[in-house]
Amino acid sequence: MSKDLVVPEKLGLKARSIDLGGYIQGFAQIFEGLKNWSIGIPLVLVFFALWELLPRLGLVDALILPTFSDTIKVLYDLIVSGKLLLHVLVSLQRTIAGFALSVLVGVPLGLLMGHYRQFEKISDILVQSLRNTSTFALMPIFLLVLGLGESSKIAIIFYGALWQILMNTISGVKSVDPIYIKAARSMGLSEKDLFIKVILPASFPSIVIGARLGAKIALMVVIAAEMIGAKSGLGFFIQNAQYNFLIPEMYAGILTMSILGLIINYLLVWLERKATYWKGDLSGSIH
């Protein structure tokens, strides 16, 4: 994350010939610039101000969109009464369980698939077909097979998060500089040590990126899963609020969801930094 001033050139506003790649890069740089707190915070404030003003000025029906301040008030009450906390904890518990499972399976499997080409060749078609099947489409099957209990939700989250972690681990392993492997072999490292001491640390940055993307999906999937068949959790809370026309509660639930996602994302960004301490400060990361 750069803290320099954003100059027009950096924003990609320099005169360019019509070149899509250039524009995409330009937009990417604009978004990069938005990460600067100096622009980012005011933008969020503008968003909240619009949220407050639209229903207040009668431009949007307050029944459909309650004002920001009303939503916050409801959110505050929900927090104080402890009603929300229970649902948040339940959702988090499911997310963490499913996510942990996907790391436990995805990382070792990815290390093997990335390193042993034959293994990847054999499993590639199966992995690609599973990966390209929407998790949401599979939800009914998970419910049918595993029932309405915790296991079906954890399984869905596991399935959703697995692929990003697996794919990033594989690509991380594949991009390990062969010279490291040659050096390790020349020092007489055993095959096991080669994995633990060379391949794993060398592909760790890529694995952490996969974990971050996986965690995002896990959070998304948990809400959807709780909306379909659950009696607790944030997804259930939001869905339930809508059914009972408790619209401010619904928005409070959604807002909680966003805050949760934000916290987890920054936590993982921080972890990513920690994981790449040895790379120096040259490369910025995209959140």
Binding site: Y180, S186, W278, G280
Partner: protein, 278 residues
Amino acid sequence: MDIIVAENIRKKFKLKNGQKVKNNGVVSDEVEALSGFNLKIRKGEFLVLVGPSGSGKSVFLDLVSGLSAPTGGVIYLDGKPVQAPSAKTGYVFQQYALFPWRTALSNVECGLEAKGVPKDERVRIARELLSLFGLSDFEDRFPYQLSGGMQQRVSIARALATKPEVLLMDEPFAALDAQTREILQNELIRIWEGTDTTVIFVTHSIDEAVFLADRVAVVTARPGRIKELIEIDLPRPRTGEIRSSTEFARNRHKVWLALKSEVSKAEQYTKLATGFAG
């Protein structure tokens, strides 16, 4: 006494699917890197391999280290055929190949870990080696925090940590600037002269070869074999001043003469057949 005996070594590589090469008019999907390669290396000597690009010098180092197996022939190390990498050889690469997630000290410890040396002992040996290279103040640095010359010093220290009988060096100084290169040559020769380690050193620089070597082995254009072994009759211990002596120039000329025709042969060859680098 000979520590390494390479007998009638042949090494072929299969090209990737669909790739072809033309050898003397014959189209083939294989490249012969070494053929009829015979070499005996004395215990404790500093042997430098020079030869045109693609003549299989690095391939030979891989064979000695046990990282790859010859297609034909046997390499004996201490009288036993080389079959797998062992602590008897240490390998230094042109690209340093330091593990970027480990500190300088921890990089040097690496080979000792593989041997199961306890932590205290590892640290002691690694510190000793780093201080030998004047890097005591940098032991906690990561590779990206070190200059190229420093990284290569750490890399040599890492290879020496397991006290190998043979140190293999594949163009270790090629990526460094001329000044650093000379400094490292001087350091290497100073440290090596205090040990009984055998060194096999690959380079493209005749000056480097003459300055370092007891013997220079000139390798032919592909497929590589030994064309000539040249004794370098410069006194030891050698210091930087020797580079400007007339004896140095005389030795240099000998190597140059042996190498000249091979290099032009290799150039012809590259024009005919591209698609293989090694």
